[in-house]
Subunit: 460 residues, 2 copies
């Protein structure tokens, strides 16, 4: 329990109505997309960077841990108040401050919802590519903290690639600006990129300067059914070597397609063992040419069927198969552990085969889909955790998936981050000296280990 | 002077022939492109990361500063041994270890020369875009340490955007790997990007994992003469808003054109007050369409003449005007201070006008050219430093250029870094708290301040 003097100070800083201590209110901020629950002692909704600065000074005095939170849509527990203390909800800072159409730069507050920002810039003919699956509710601050990805990253890169500068409040309460509004800048260390993906452990983000692109004139969607995952994987490499970098190169493996067949009435031929959904964007005239070239390239690779959308409605229909996956999986088993390993593109089929072996060994259904273009596979371990022993099997299977991904030169997380879910495993990927180097940075900047403690690193 | 025991240990680590202490040899490593000179006490040419690790342990014991060095082509003194001590020459580590054509990833040692790497990957149909002007001799390790740019960055981004992972030796002698071979990865802090542009102050780079692109099918060059710098600047914005991001968008201002007119017999009409050199790349067929569209877009903006190259030879001829600049400037005055401010793209004409005022006020010739597409202006202050008072005038003019760039939302360095040349000025751009945050990182990782001390920060 926090002392009343501390709570009174907080109320003085942000206003009485922005401090919550009732259990019913605390529960609302006790979980995220991992479904793990940790009750905070207090929830604070600051309105300005200055208030956050004062809060950080106060919590350092009182040694109260602080857990910044956007929409709480993270898959690894990055925003969970694992040690009680304070949840710092950033959603009152939700203004788009500027869209500079001349320089293709926007400045926003961290609480802006990703999709709302995308729509705002598209209205003026501009484009913000990163598209995490949670974009309808996730916030840009959370996207930056986790370095969110999405299907379009194969062509356009991840969140980090669009962040030019930040305003942040440091763990000790200083307000600093990193980077700036220019396309280039090399004065001092690149704190902007250091913050991206640091999962809220190094500073609280209060402003984000974002690089935009011109909105592509048009896009075109293809859905291609292959008779093997190898054919689909070879297609991915062949398309890119053919000098075409599609906007998205999404795949679904055979087990995923089975789930879709069982759960929906979508038409998927029996001999289809893998699906690629390919989208290209750009100049309208040029797209037709690209689609033709892709069809040509993939022809010898075991194509069962190719569907090309001619209208936005047809494109939407093609995406139905992909969008039906989550609901279809839930019919298989109620609990899904969605991992997001990433391997070199060419290793995707080998990885899928290894996952199939692991699924058989532990007798747990594992279905795979995701971003084939960049080797980022969403490995979904499906269990019913109410059945005794299932959770243990899933845990073992996941650990083996990580081990195999690393053996193939991959990583255990392409876009979800570490949080608390993967923290126990990071020493499989990073050497002790590398972890120590990172912890040295954390310790130097946050001497009281006050900001989002217990995240990323196995133990503090 | 270093003690003989220390030198003996060094010889033991790297081999006798790789340690130089003769003054004649030391002089060779005492300068860089800034023409400043600082004599080291010893020059060491290590051959492996393990040797570098042992060297770092040794210098920490003896508190000898170490200055890593690639080709010494930097413009801000990043590799200068300003405090004597050891120059660590990285050029023996010069192997291209792998070009993974399937995954578009290469692994190299830091001593590989930029252009040689570009040629090697182009031979197999791949592409490494960053193209600093020094690419014929600069090394990739130096490019990463300074986060080098170049004309193609407007479309393709800077060095940092291509670095997926590193192997580095820390200031205390640990060998660590950062990032990896995958396109995405969010496990732990992004040390890779933190190293990029940290100017050799945080670690010694021993291996670089580089993302490649498919080599564009073709390119097309246009040279356009405008009757005003405003017309040229408006053209830059209009082209990008027209959804065309050219490979390069280089400009030269009126004063630069005057120098070229005076020093060469290249044909430049009298009413041309600004030049844009625009290159587009990609699909051959599509390029003709883009050139047509660019011509259409720029038509109302005061075009004096448009020249389009149809062959590589004609393209080379168009670039002659740009390539003749350095030699032309030298005829104006022997000493050139080449700064590289960067402002938001739309502010380029305003910045040029402000620079013209500064040039008049201090009575020093200042000519401007550079990367208009990303607002990165090379501001060349031309003096004869043998004339008393000239250096002082140049110093004052440069400081005012920085001030005006910052007032327009810019930075004092887009691609050259800080080194020693801009270190006295960085508090104009960064607040004390931001500098302190960076210095805290440096101090934590390099407790003895042994690795490239005296760089970036105004005083240690």
């Amino acid at each position: 329990m926090l002392n009343t003097e501390f709570i009174a100070k907080l109320r003085e800083i942000v206003g009485k109505e922005h401090v919550e201590t009732d259990k019913a209110d605390l529960i609302c901020y006790s979980y995220d997309a991992t479904q793990r629950k940790f009750l905070p002692d207090v929830v604070v909704h600051p309105g300005t960077p200055q208030e956050i600065s004062r809060i950080m000074q106060l919590v350092n005095e009182h040694k109260i841990p602080v857990f910044p939170r956007g929409a709480g849509s993270g898959f690894t527990g990055g925003s969970l108040p694992t040690k009680g203390g304070m949840v710092l909800v950033m959603t009152r800072l939700d203004r788009i401050l500027e869209i500079d159409e001349e320089n293709l730069v926007a400045t926003v507050e961290p609480g802006v919802v990703t999709e709302q920002f995308q729509q705002a810039v598209e209205k003026v003919g501009l484009f913000y590519p990163p598209d995490p699956a949670s974009l309808k509710f996730s916030t840009l601050g959370g996207n930056v903290a986790e370095c969110a990805g999405g299907p379009r990253c194969v062509k356009y890169g991840v969140t980090k690639d669009y962040i030019l500068g930040l305003e942040v409040v440091t763990p000790t309460g200083d307000i600093i600006k990193t980077g700036g509004q220019t396309m280039k800048g090399v004065v001092g260390y690149d704190l902007t990129k250091l913050m991206c993906g640091s999962e809220g452990t190094l500073a609280v983000i209060t402003k984000i300067i974002i690089k935009l692109l011109p909105l592509p004139e048009a896009k075109k969607t293809m859905l291609i059914l292959f008779d093997s995952i190898d054919g689909a994987a070879q297609a991915v490499s062949a398309i890119i070597r053919g000098k075409i970098i599609p906007t998205t190169l999404e795949f679904m493996d055979g087990r995923t397609i089975d789930c879709v067949r069982q759960a929906t009435d979508l038409q998927v031929p029996d001999d289809a063992q893998a699906v690629l959904i390919i989208e290209v964007d750009g100049d309208r005239e040029f797209l037709a040419k690209q689609v033709g070239k892709i069809s040509e390239i993939i022809k010898p690779l075991g194509v069962v069927e190719t569907r090309v959308a001619e209208t936005p409605e047809e494109s939407e229909a093609l995406w139905q198969i992909r969008r039906s996956v989550s609901a279809s999986l839930r019919k298989v088993n109620p609990d899904k552990f969605n991992e997001d390993i990433c391997v070199p593109r060419s290793k995707v089929p080998e990885m899928i085969r290894k996952i199939d072996v692991i699924a058989d060994r532990y007798d747990v259904p594992i279905v795979n889909f995701g971003h084939a273009g960049d080797g980022n596979i969403h490995v979904n371990v499906m269990i019913d955790s109410k059945i005794p022993g299932e959770q243990e099997k899933a845990d073992k299977a996941i650990k083996e998936v990580f081990r195999e991904a690393l053996a193939l030169g991959g990583t255990m997380s392409g876009e979800h981050g570490v949080g608390i879910m993967k923290a126990p495993f990071i020493s499989m990927e990073l050497t002790k000296t590398a972890i120590d180097y990172m912890k040295t940075i954390k310790k130097a900047l946050d001497p009281n280990n006050i900001l989002n403690p217990g995240k990323i690193f196995p133990s503090d």
